[in-house]
């Protein structure tokens, strides 16, 4: 197992390098001249050719492409992503806190998604084909067809405006978490509880359940065993869900004015603040690779068959 962990971690390094290179190339492909954007953003009234050349030199744009990439990569490793074109502040001072806020939202949502999916999955599997099962699945079907921002808008309209219970936006108190977390939870739990349910249903037909029943084990204890075995499938799926939820909080963050990565990135896109966009893509893609690596390791820990491939 130790060997597997080392091999799997080593595999992530070239992937991270390729990702950083692609991120860098993506920005180099941009049709706009960064020097011009900087000068525009700083509100310089008349842009002369001299001024452009000077700004380019200050940004290091006059060096060859590969040298620029290496310099950029080395400074990124020290969390120095350059300065924002618009505010002039270091990118990390804006990105860091935002990343933390997004992470908080994601972690709480993922926990809620897992708890709700397992709960609903068990209820549905135990009442298969009956009214409870059908109505939960019907509701889930409807809710997953709904754009998450519409669900969010409806919840805001009802709980914040009509009943005035919860804050509509921002991150001020614990209550600010309730609406965004429930929107994310509802839209993802609706998908993931099906996995728990179908895994449990598959295990219901296994011999050990029949044997347990034949031996007269109480239903509760059979259910616990059933759950332990069927959660193996679910665990790997949940780990895959973390990066997906991390990346897709963009819409929710913008709707609730959550001071996280999603809001920062959309703001930077609209103001064409490239260093922030670049750092955002790099940080999230790196997080994605790291979480994926961990999830592969955990899968291998649970399921020894997967280790054979390496």
């Amino acid at each position: 197992m130790g060997g597997y962990i080392i091999r799997r971690s080593l595999l992530a390094i070239p992937l991270l390098l390729i990702i950083s290179f692609l991120t860098f190339v993506l920005n180099a492909l941009s049709p706009m001249d960064p020097a011009e954007v900087v000068l525009h953003a700083q509100g310089v009234p008349r842009i002369t050719d001299d001024l452009l050349a000077e700004t380019r030199a200050a940004l290091g744009m006059d060096q060859p492409f590969f040298i620029r990439y290496l310099n950029w990569l080395l400074s990124c490793l020290q969390l120095d992503f350059g300065n924002s074109y618009v505010t002039g502040k270091p990118v990390w001072s804006m990105l860091g806190p935002a990343f933390l806020n997004t992470l908080k939202l994601t972690v709480i949502s993922v926990v809620a998604v897992i708890v709700l999916s397992i709960g609903l999955g068990i209820i549905c599997a135990l009442t298969e084909g009956r009214l409870v099962d059908k109505s939960i699945r019907g509701a889930a079907f409807f809710l997953t067809s709904m754009p998450s921002y519409l669900l969010a808008a409806l919840l805001v309209w009802y709980f914040s405006v009509k009943l005035d219970w919860l804050p509509t936006n921002g991150l001020e108190s614990i209550q600010s978490y309730i609406l965004p977390v429930s929107v994310i939870t509802i839209s993802y739990a609706g998908i993931y509880f099906r996995i728990v349910r179908s895994a449990m249903l598959n295990h219901l037909n296994e011999d050990y359940v029949l044997y347990g029943r034949a031996c007269g084990l109480p239903e509760g204890r059979i259910t616990i065993r059933l759950l332990r075995n069927s959660l193996q499938v679910a665990v790997s799926v949940f780990f895959m869900a973390i990066p997906i939820i991390l990346g897709s909080t963009v819409v929710i963050e913008n709707l609730f004015a959550w001071p996280g990565l999603g809001m920062l990135s959309v703001k930077s896109i609209l103001s064409r603040d490239f260093p922030i966009i670049q750092a955002y893509v790099l940080v999230l893609a790196a997080a994605f690779v790291v979480v994926n690596t961990f999830s592969d390791m955990i899968n291998a820990l649970i399921n020894p068959k997967l280790r054979e491939d390496f």
């Binding site: 941009s30 997953t144 754009p147 998450s148 963009v250 913008n254 609209l270 999230l284 994926n292």
Partner: protein
Amino acid sequence: MKRLHYLFKDRLAFLSLFIITSTLLAGIFAPWIAPNDPEEVHMELRFASVSWDYLLGNDHLGRCVLSRLIYGIRPSVLWVLVTLAISVGIGAIIGFISGYFKGKMDAFLMRVCDIMLSFPGYVMTLAIIGVLGVGLENILLAFVLMKWAWFARIIRTSVMQYSDAEYVKFSKALGAGSFSIMRKHIVPVSLPDIAVTSSSAFSSMILQLSGFSFLGLGVQAPHAEWGMMLNEARQVMFSRPEIMLAPGITTILFVSAVNFFTDALQVALDPKLMSIAKKKHRKGIFQKANLSRKEVA
């Protein structure tokens, strides 16, 4: 494709198919169907309620909501469909090459796919919009760039399954060319997999596109798009919540129709599930969850 007639026996699937085709047709023939000009502003009709001239009322600029919904089909559904077709096409070509020829080519193409798939979809779409600027075409470009790898993966798995089949080996022994083997023996059997995958990706792409438009990164005003209509409605959400209804319900209806259709397609095309469905009298439609939907993201 004999199994397709099961699909028409399933009333829910038939209804879904009806909703999907009529929406597509309405989008194509929008100028003839829409009762009014979708971009014509009537300030005196702001937030007017339902009337005979404006069947779904008017929005915050007095524009006809129904006409905007119909014209909105074009970016929200038709362009997404075109994008889907392009990504599936690229994915199919790569999937067929690597699934059929295997070997070094396959290893190389799959590593490229791995790299593409290791980027989170939403983030990359945002990155591409960030670099190329806001607009529908950039989002669609990002979709193609992000999704082909995913399709290539799934199609490759499906092709691999069949490329070792006895009848393929037999054709090879007879001296049939690779291209004609693929066309005659592999494309028809892997088509169901491709259909189900694309259908489930369709609904997720519609939701994603409308999400990006909702953020103001997609279709730009004054053109109509469902996500953007919802965004405009959100701004008056506190005073006129009912404006959200029309675009909201339309989106939900269309996306659930696609979802139902995907599930039905899966049941109809998968012989294993079909037998369950027959036994359980259509209960099977819920049986196979289309889990892949948001995972596409």
